[in-house]
Amino acid sequence: MNLAYLVPLFPLVGFLINGLFRKQLSKQAVSVVGCGVLLASFILSLVLFFDIKAGGAGVRTYFDFINVADFKIPFAFQVDQLTAVFLLIITGVGSLIHIYSSAYMQEETPQHFARYFAYLNLFVFSMLLLVMGANFLIMFIGWEGVGLCSYLLIGYWFKNDTFNYAARKAFVMNRIGDLGFLIALFWILSKTGTLSYHELFTPDMLAKFSRADVTAITLLLFVGATGKSAQIPLYTWLPDAMAGPTPVSALIHAATMVTAGIYMIARSHLLYSLAPFTNEIIAIIGVATAVFAASIALRQNDIKKVLAYSTVSQLGYMFLGLGVGAYGGAVFHVMTHAFFKALLFLGAGSVIHAMGGQQDSRFMGGLKKFMPVTHITFLLACLAIAGVPPFSGFFSKDEILAAAYASSPVLYYLGVLGALFTAFYMFRIYAMTFLGKFRGTQEQAHHLHESPKAMTIPLSILAVLAVIAGFLGIPAIFAPHAHLLENFLSPVFSDLPAASETLSHQTEWMLMLVTTVLVIATIIWAWKKYADYQKSEQQETGLSKVLANKWYVDEIYDGLIVNPVMKFSNFLKNVIDKTFIDGIVNGVGRFVQYSSRQIRLVQSGQVGGYILMMVLSLVVLFVIFWNQAYILTFIHWIFK
């Protein structure tokens, strides 16, 4: 289908309408435009999906973006199976979140309401560019574009300086990642002269890279991915990014943008297959992030913060999948995660909405009876993320863990540990929010209500998806060839060498069983422990204090990086620039002033002095005149 460009064009048009006419449009009009363009995009994506299924994959070139002699980068879209999956996630989940937002943001003034939707549409546009681009440069455009929109939406309530700081932090940390990405692009360009996937990912082109090149490029690309997908060491922006409106957290910081790193690595899987060292690093960083972030989530009380760390941790699983070569599994987890994490965030949003902005779960409790739909959907999402069969998270996480076991059992054990943490903190936060007695203020209790239809309907749809999406990826041990997603994606990943080791069915059954039993046990424990949660004034100590303070990573970064940079800047500004360089410049000026003040003394005003000078000069002139031949010879000798 040649209408692929319409998919990103619709959100762009929505952005322009909402952005330019934000003063004129009413809230209704804004939400119709904002959601309408997304739905249109979604329908087109569906059409595109079936087209690709029927064999319509390919590259569509539109115009020359940069064309300088030996350097040519077209503006082109690549439409294939991988793109299609991401397109459906982005536009599908995006549409639901847009609809949800139209109710959630109802209290904003029309102008800011329109600004919100404009940013959201711009985000979807950038995200679509990212996944549709046929070369790394277009991907980079989208890559930076989503970073920008994330910045704008985190700082959406711009009067609050803390939020602004969070927005800036997100952007700058992303930029650090982008630095790696950019350098990788230059590296690729200097070796091959092209950034287009279909030219680059051919055996001839790949042969141009030495082993060191491939390792460096893949590592640099991975640096980019750690920035965007919030992996160690660049993850700290994501929890702070919760300053934005909750639907934004659902769309950008859970379902779509943060998975861009996974998309990028999956897209360049051929490069990665040549770099075993990088793959090891990715797997290690992935599993480390998964466990580390989950451990922080154990002791957070802010419902959105828990979800944020949970997202970081789940992204770690996806990277673990990529690192051990389970590209299909990683993409599968992206999809299921998009469903259940968006659902969790939207559910949290619904709770926050009902609580009048309260996000601290210590002051919630017993919401079950006030908000039945939110409660049920949230519970389903918790089951899905914890990996209880047959919910979606079970299948995708299991696929990754099985692949990890095949690669190295240590990775598997750590992965299971992270999964147990996940089950614990999810049910802790669930119990604190929905079970027990209400612990909020009288006024809040009075206002408690179920959210409007525009919010509960997206919740319900996502809940259905979170429950059943797992059946798209039924492992071969249940039924051979039933992994629909893998079958669909196989043209993209078919060029990979087949996995060297496969697990026996017996091992796989056992792993699955052990994980499931442990997870269910953890869930019951957490449920029991927090069902009747009571606030206690007792100070946290020891490890739990460290966890509550997020391992003090922010403080360490401030001390090790931010403050030294600021001090260095001050030093350059005040010492080097003002004192040293300007000192030299002004010193020259002062020297001239000083010497002229000295020479001025000769001009004493004494007539006698002047006459003496005159006579002496005359004598000197005469001497020179009589000896000019010698003097000229001397000058020539000097300048020879």
Partner: protein
């Protein structure tokens, strides 16, 4: 036709000195600059080189020789676009004798046009000085509190440069076999290695001061801070490009061996300057100085890309010269609008302007993003190509240069948030939306930023021939 580019501003400028009435002077200046713009537009769209040769000083073998290749076309267009924008955005400013002010501005424009067009070295020098002298008067007559010191610093720096340039020109002139100032005979010079080195440094320092390159940059923040708004705009939007232009037009082709001999050290210095200025910008509290250091950083990057001698990098410099001019002009327009509204330039005293002036906030955001060189703004393509060129030249220089993309994000976003976001302060509490004329100028700039960001091909094609010629001499 080509001579009109110089003639219109000169005549209008001279006339303007005799007009006392502010409105009439503004009308004259605006009409003249628009006429210049139209002429430039016609010339830029003509295919191929435009040339003109007239007798000037036959005794010295110097002729009034103008020629317009791709790079000259682009920079003339930049010059011709900038002046109407500057004039329209500063319509509401009051000066003590507007006729003189606008006259000086137009004479500066004429001088810069001449610099970009001259195909004769003496003529080039003549216009180089012609562009500088009016700007001295602009700064010393209409500047801020410390205008005299700042102008004096500027004057001494640039005249030192001009002096070296003059010595270099005369030196090379005496070396030409036919004793001619024609650019072509300078290109044909056969110089020994030591002669090349001497001439190279004479020319290079002169242009490096103008650009400016670290560590010759300290005149710039002071001058930008103290000069009147319109003066600052023309200085940083167009005049800085004179140095870059001359680097490409004169230094690279005339001293190819010396360039290859010294370019490593120059690239290193440029990259240091880029990072150095970016670091300083992080801690600037004065908005004007912040923009000045940001501009120094960008120019450092361009200089590094020029001396990387890579085709891609040079192509990036070409379009970045235009784009940087447009973007920095936008930043200055916003800065002066804010200073007029709030009466302060200190970022620490600002805040919350987005609620007071939402249109200005939106427009500034786009300028700021262009300054960060986000994709789909015009400067992204230029910086991408330049980084690429530097990277091809040396991996480490490329990597260090790329670090600036983090620093630029830090200080630009910080400044934007300090100015427009957060809570209002005592200074900004009574601020109002910027006037219409400022907004129109900014909208034009925004459109240019976005159009060139999505479709940079016209500019790239326009300047391809120059890049080809310059590098083929090597």
């Amino acid at each position: 036709m080509i001579v009109l580019l110089i003639l219109i501003p000169v005549i209008a400028g001279v006339f303007s000195f005799f007009i006392k009435n502010s409105k009439a002077a503004q009308g004259l200046a605006l009409t003249a600059s628009l006429l210049t713009f139209l002429t430039a537009l016609v010339l830029v769209t003509t295919h191929g080189k435009v040339q003109l040769e007239m007798q000037w000083l036959p005794q010295m073998n110097s002729s009034f020789n103008l020629s317009m290749d791709g790079m000259a076309k682009m920079l003339c267009l930049l010059n011709a676009v900038s002046v109407p924008l500057i004039l329209s955005s500063t319509l509401r400013s009051h000066y003590k004798s507007p006729g003189n002010f606008l006259g000086l501005l137009l004479l500066t424009q004429a001088g810069m046009m001449g610099v970009f067009l001259a195909a004769d070295v003496l003529l080039f020098y003549f216009f180089w000085e012609l562009a500088l002298i009016p700007i001295y008067f602009l700064c010393s007559q209409y500047g801020g509190n410390k205008k005299i010191q700042a102008t004096f610093k500027f004057f001494v720096y640039t005249f030192l440069g001009s002096l070296l340039l003059l010595i270099g020109i005369i030196y090379l002139y005496l070396k030409t076999p036919d004793h001619s100032f024609a650019l072509s005979s300078f290109y044909d010079l056969k110089l020994s290695a030591s002669e090349q080195n001497l001439g190279f440094w004479l020319f290079f320092i002169a242009f490096a001061i103008k650009m400016p390159i670290f560590p010759l940059h300290t005149w710039q923040p002071d001058t930008y801070e103290q000069a009147p708004a319109a003066g600052t705009m023309i200085l940083s939007a167009v005049m800085v490009k004179m140095g870059l232009y001359a680097m490409i037009r004169y230094v690279l082709p005339i001293f190819p061996q010396a360039v290859l001999h010294f370019n490593h050290i120059i690239v290193v210095f440029s990259v240091i300057g880029l990072l150095y200025a970016s670091f300083i910008a992080i801690r600037q509290d004065d908005l004007k100085r912040l923009i000045a250091y940001s501009s120094i950083a960008h120019v450092g990057l361009m200089c590094a890309a020029i001396f990387s001698m890579e085709r891609v990098g040079l192509q990036g410099v070409m379009i970045q010269m235009f784009n940087h001019g447009i973007n920095v002009l936008g930043l200055w327009i916003v800065a002066s609008a804010i200073e007029r509204q709030t009466g302060t330039r200190k970022l620490s005293e600002m805040g919350g302007l987005a609620t007071k002036a939402p249109v200005l906030a939106t427009l500034f955001m786009i300028m700021a993003l262009a300054n960060v060189s986000l994709p789909l703004t015009n400067s992204f393509i230029g910086e991408f190509l330049m980084f690429n060129g530097i990277f091809r030249f040396s991996i480490w220089a490329g990597v260090f240069a790329c670090f600036s993309i983090i620093l630029v994000a830090i200080y630009t976003l910080w400044a934007m948030q300090k100015m427009f976001y957060g809570k209002t302060s005592d200074f900004t509490a009574n601020a109002m939306e910027s006037p219409r004329n400022t907004q129109y100028a900014l909208i034009v700039i925004t459109i240019v930023i976005l159009v060139l960001g999505v479709y940079p091909q016209p500019l790239l094609q326009l300047t391809q021939d120059t890049v080809q010629t310059v590098l083929s001499i090597k």
